[in-house]
């Protein structure tokens, strides 16, 4: 398996380089270069996956490190780690990436920067594979920032739009806030253990290299990176804005893979977290889940609904890790990648159709992403509708779909956690509440988009199904959201038991003094909580769906009226709890003001008055010394006095100068004679 690893990095990177430098000159603008590269990695990933299935060994692991550089005593090693988690992640990334590449051929067809787009996608694939393959914090951090870069480039891909430019900058900066925390965490671990390798850090921590409180802090610092990348509260603000990027990008980066990197990191680092740290993580995840779900309910932009839904689902995964059900978290990551990518690509298909319809009608003002402009598209876009419906079922947690299994496992985990620690009763409430809202807003989305009457009939008349390059990925991804894919060789729609749970097993915490429950204890607890969790989640999901049916399909209640009655919650939700505004007012503007003040102080006050003050003082002093003292007193009185006396004597001796050399010579000789005389004496 090790021999495959380099290709996951080299191929996409080479594709990126080729696209950037030669893309425009290649036939078909070089899209086949990127597709070939990603397709090859997909084949390799499938090969690795098959090998994994044949091996069927939960602890399978291959690791290889090499020295990046050394400074004498300090040797910085980086390397590659491949285990079952890696293989599954590689497959997820390669698969989604490959499908998105294919989809983009249709979606981005007429874009002037078509080749650059594929280059960026390849760069992203490269960096994401790097994160997955790393066996150390340093290179994870590096690739971590590189995915941030590719995300920046892709969000701002249509940079002529100010909103896109702003969103890309925001994404990068917000991510950097988290990255700083992560970097501090890395420094803490490195200082304590002297290595960046997971294995060394785990060993070091197990040996007690960090005292417990510091270990909590260090773990939370690392988690800060995940907060940024996985858009957890309070750093979630960038993800909805990131929808300014092309929709396939949203599917790949901002739904399926990159945002999951934070979850992946937390998952990998799980053994390092102390119970306190895990509690914080669980709450961050829980709050994110419910918070984003509330916002999603009132959004009208189809992509924003999905974006907040992503945030919410990521919150689920993080909460799962925090409560110890981290295998469930990872399971959800995998299933979510498939159906959320499907949802985004479907929405992309819808937007694409809307966009073309508006284009045909010559309407450039209407927003093709606004759900209020849609409706009744079921009949026109059959494939899109069906695939989207399947993915929605999966996301809502309806049985026989993959989402049901993974979500159920998470909810079981939180329930089990709460039964052991009753003071954390809020966590399952967050979980079930978010599940209810998820089912509701997803069906709201479906009903608003595909059912009912359109806002304008002529728009609907011009809607056409998307081309095959776009629908094929939809079908593949929708198929992957059926439960059976994940439970083979067992077929029980109500249990997640299958190859996945067999191959991905929990590892014990390395936190010393055994303050954490062991993996076995956690698994046991989850198993017990399984049935009640399943029942509750089923009830909750169907309640949500029913509500959506009542309000948006049957129109028994008017949504507007409901909003009016619940004015305050509606406003909070609609305006995303004013988080952006708060950041603007209390963080960003003060920083800029501070910067302006510092800049002003530095240049206009410190430099002009203080530093130049030295010059001015020196000038004054020199004027005093140079003019008053030097000229008036020293020069005029003393020095000129010497001059005047010299002049007096000079006048007296003037006769010596005759102009005749021979006279001078006589004087010279006179001098010599005097020397003779002195010598003789």
């Amino acid at each position: 398996m090790m021999t495959f690893a380099p290709y996951f990095l080299i191929l996409p990177l080479a594709a990126f380089a080729i696209q950037i430098f030669f893309g425009k000159r290649l036939p078909r603008k070089g899209d086949w270069v990127s597709i070939t590269a990603v397709g090859t990695t997909l084949c390799l990933a499938i090969a690795m996956f098959v090998m994994m299935l044949f091996l069927y060994e939960p602890g399978a692991k291959a690791e290889q490190s090499f020295e990046w550089f050394n400074l004498g005593e300090l040797s910085v090693k980086i390397g590659v780690l491949i285990d079952n988690v890696t293989v599954i992640m590689l497959l997820v990334v390669a698969l989604v990436s490959g499908l998105v590449h294919l989809y983009s051929v249709g979606y981005m067809k007429d874009d002037p920067r078509y080749s650059r787009y594929f280059g960026y996608l390849s760069l992203f694939t490269f960096s994401m594979n790097g994160i997955i393959l790393s066996n150390n914090l340093l290179s994870i951090y590096m690739f971590w920032e590189l995915v941030g870069l590719s995300s920046y480039l892709l969000i701002g891909f249509w940079f002529e739009k100010d909103s896109a430019a702003n969103a890309s900058k925001k994404a990068f900066l917000v991510n950097r806030v988290g990255d700083i925390g992560m970097f501090i965490g890395i420094m803490l671990f490195f200082t304590a253990t002297g290595s960046f390798l997971f294995s060394d850090i785990f060993a070091g921590v197990a040996a007690g290299a960090l005292p417990l409180p510091l270990l909590t802090v260090a773990g939370l610092c690392l988690f800060a990176g995940a907060i940024g990348k996985s858009a957890q509260v309070p750093l979630h603000v960038w993800l909805p804005d990131a929808m300014e990027g092309p929709t396939p990008v949203s599917a790949l980066i901002h739904a399926a893979t990159m945002v999951a990197a934070g979850v992946y990191l937390t998952f990998r680092m799980f053994p390092l977290f102390t119970p306190e740290a895990l509690t914080v993580i669980a709450y961050v995840g829980g709050v994110t889940a419910i918070f984003a779900a509330i916002i999603a309910v009132t959004q009208n932009d189809i992509k924003r609904v999905l974006a907040y839904s992503t945030v919410s689902q990521l919150g689920y995964m993080v909460m799962a890790i925090g409560t110890g059900a981290y295998v469930a978290g990872f399971f959800h990551l995998t299933t979510h990648a498939a159906f959320k990518a499907a949802l985004f690509l479907c929405s992309g298909s819808v937007i694409h159709a809307m966009h073309h319809a508006y284009h045909k009608l010559g309407d450039h003002d209407s927003d093709p992403q606004d759900m209020r402009n849609m409706g009744g598209m079921k009949s026109k876009m059959k494939i899109t509708f069906l695939t989207m419906f399947m993915a929605t079922l999966a996301l809502s947690g309806v049985p026989f779909m993959s989402g049901f299994l993974s979500k159920d496992a998470i909810l079981a985990g939180t329930l089990s956690f709460a039964t052991h620690h009753p003071e954390h009763f809020l966590l399952p409430l967050f979980g079930f509440g978010a599940a209810l809202l998820t089912a509701f807003y997803m069906f709201r989305l479906i009903f608003m988009t595909f059912y009912g009457k359109p806002a304008k009939q002529e728009v609907l008349d011009n809607i056409h199904e998307s081309p095959a390059t776009m629908t094929t990925p939809l079908i593949v991804l929708a198929t992957l959201s059926i439960f059976i894919v994940y439970t083979l060789p067992y077929i029980n729609p109500f249990s997640d038991h299958g190859w996945f749970t067999d191959l991905i097993v929990a590892t014990n915490s390395v936190v010393p003094q055994h303050v954490n429950p062991s993996a076995h204890e956690i698994a046991e607890g989850i198993h017990h909580a399984h049935l009640p969790a399943m029942i509750i989640s089923l009830i909750v999901a169907f309640t949500g769906i029913a509500l959506a049916v009542v309000i948006y399909l049957k129109k028994k209640f008017s949504a507007e009226k409901l909003a009016k009655n619940l004015a305050l919650p509606y406003k909070l939700s609609f305006n995303k709890f004013f988080v952006d505004e708060i950041y603007d007012r209390f963080l960003i503007n003060p920083t800029i003001k501070l910067a302006k003040a510092v800049g002003f102080f530095d240049w206009e006050i410190y430099d002009k008055y203080f530093i130049n003050g030295f010059g001015r003082i020196t000038e004054r002093l020199s004027r005093f010394i140079g003019i008053t003292m030097d000229y008036d007193v020293l020069d005029q009185q003393i020095v000129d006095g010497v001059g005047k006396s010299t002049r007096f004597f000079g006048g007296a001796l003037k006769f010596i100068q005759t102009g005749k050399i021979q006279n001078y010579l006589v004087w010279v000789l006179g001098g010599i004679i005097i020397i003779f005389i002195i010598q003789a004496m």
Partner: protein
């Protein structure tokens, strides 16, 4: 070693300058080609030097020693070690590229290129001399051409900028001269750095002047002298002005090489000669580093002049170097003899010097490119250039991302090493200064957005794309930035033995027990 390669490195530009003086006034192109040839040979020699350098060897190599002014025991003493070698290569490379950057100089090219080569010789001399007096001479030799280059070929405020730069740095030089004399008279009447390194610490440490420890007095004097060049926080205001007013190539040299002389001086002179002082001052140094990082970044964020922003970013980036240098105390007994951290910090500092040299050179060249076209540098006065000049935008993006420390580009690894090195000792300071990373990203991205993203400013629909000559000056730097970002080992291998030795010197310092 047989053919005095170091002397060639120093004197080649002087020969070039002499030739340029002989060229008739109206043959501007000939002068440019002479300058290009002189710097090209210098670069070749520098690369040769690099290839023949034995990186496992402790101490100075390729030494050349001759009595110069025998009555004061002043020597013409050149040598190179792992600390100076990267700087030598950087100087040679930037000088060579800067000749092409200044290709369009039409105002009195004879004076310009002759002075430029003289400046080059001075810089090379500073990095190669091992005699303190010779060091001082080269240090001053460098000032004068700089003064004229800024004062005659600069922007609208050039006289003010030039005189300020000159006086400011001269003030520092005076302190250095005093320190040199103090060392000379207390440590065996010699200017030989290798001898001073062995004697100065004990010689000065036992003396008291006006109630202060002589070592601390000398350390402070040297520190201020070097701090002005770096520039360290309260001494930094000459820098934005000089950078903004200087012609592009001179800004490149200023930021790329001259600033490094401050930190180079500290590492070459202050640290090994007065290790006690280094330990005594490390805390303050870290604090100053923090102020530099944050203050510089905040100031950069506030700028609307692109060149000024880049200038302030240099202030911020040099802060990382100081932070890395402060990390050397980690090797002390009180900090558990954490040699790993000290190594990371010190090597990171030198690597950061080198990397900042390449990155900031790129930035200044790029500023020059846009200034040549639009004749202003107001960040808000552009907009949407990304659509009009894709290649230029790409290179700027590379430089900006390198500047904000993106992994995979050279700035990241050196900054990270500086942080990692200083972290065990100065936890709070490092944690606060990591905010600098964020601010760095903020001002670079903000400037990038205002200049290149959004709707194309209609004034600039005809702005020509970057030309081949300008690309030629940028590509070597870009390649270095990427290569060292992926694989920094070649540079680190050259310096690590020297830095390890320096850490050992610090470890053996007598003050260490107290730390």
């Amino acid at each position: 070693m047989d053919w005095n390669i170091l002397s060639w490195l120093v004197w080649l530009p002087v020969i070039g300058a002499g030739l340029i003086v002989l060229v008739p006034r109206d043959k501007g192109d000939t002068m440019k080609w002479i300058a290009a040839a002189a710097t090209a040979f210098q670069l070749i020699f520098a690369v040769l030097l690099w290839s023949q350098f034995d990186s496992s060897h402790v101490g100075f190599q390729f030494q050349e020693k001759m009595s110069w002014i025998a009555s004061f025991n002043i020597q013409y003493y050149l040598g190179v070690d792992g600390l100076s070698l990267p700087m030598v290569l950087l100087t040679a490379l930037l000088s060579f590229l800067c000749v092409f950057v200044s290709w369009k100089i039409d105002k009195a090219p004879k004076g310009y290129f002759a002075l430029f080569l003289l400046l080059d010789a001075g810089m090379m001399g500073v990095f190669l001399s091992l005699d303190f007096f010779l060091f001082y001479v080269f240090w001053e030799v460098m000032l004068l051409p700089m003064y004229f280059l800024i004062g005659m070929w600069g922007g609208p405020q050039r006289e003010y900028a030039a005189i300020k730069f000159f006086l400011y740095t001269l003030a520092g030089s005076v302190l250095m001269l005093v320190a040199i004399l103090a060392l000379y008279f207390t440590c065996g009447h010699t200017f030989d750095m290798t001898v001073l390194m062995a004697q100065a610490n004990d010689g000065l440490g036992s003396m008291t002047w006006w109630g202060f420890n002589a070592l601390k007095v000398v350390w402070i004097m040297l520190f201020i002298a070097f701090a002005i060049k770096v520039p360290v926080f309260p001494f930094h205001t000459w820098l934005p002005l000089a950078h903004v007013e200087a012609p592009t190539a001179v800004s490149v040299i200023l930021a790329g090489v001259l600033l490094k002389m401050g930190t180079y001086g500290m590492l070459r002179i202050s640290y090994p000669m007065l290790p006690d002082g280094a330990i005594w001052f490390a805390g303050a140094l870290a604090l100053l580093a923090l102020i530099n990082i944050i203050w510089g970044a905040l100031c950069a964020l506030a700028q609307t002049d692109l060149k000024k922003m880049v200038a302030y970013s240099s202030v911020s980036h040099m802060g990382y170097v100081l932070l890395g240098m402060a990390a050397v105390v980690a090797a002390g007994a009180k900090n558990g003899g954490n040699v790993l951290a000290a190594e990371a910090g010190m090597n990171g500092a030198v690597l950061q010097m080198f990397n900042h040299g390449t990155i900031t050179a790129m930035l200044f060249i790029l500023v020059g490119v846009i200034y040549d076209r639009a004749h202003h540098r107001n960040i808000d006065g552009f907009g949407g250039l990304g659509a009009r000049m894709p290649i230029y935008t790409g290179v700027v993006a590379l430089a900006f991302f390198a500047g904000l420390g993106l992994p995979g580009l050279s700035g990241f690894i050196s900054e990270a090493m500086c942080f990692i090195g200083a972290f065990p000792v100065f936890k709070t300071i490092v944690i606060i200064s990591t905010l600098g990373i964020l601010l760095n990203a903020a001002y670079f991205l903000w400037a990038f957005q205002r200049m290149f993203l959004g709707k194309l400013n209609e004034k600039y629909v005809d702005l020509p794309e970057i030309n081949k000559r300008e690309l030629f000056t940028l590509i070597p730097l870009a390649v270095l930035v990427i290569l060292l970002g992926i694989y920094p080992a070649p540079v680190l291998d050259v310096m690590k033995v020297t830095m390890g030795h320096l850490i050992q010197i610090i470890q053996q310092s007598s003050l260490l027990a107290a730390f």
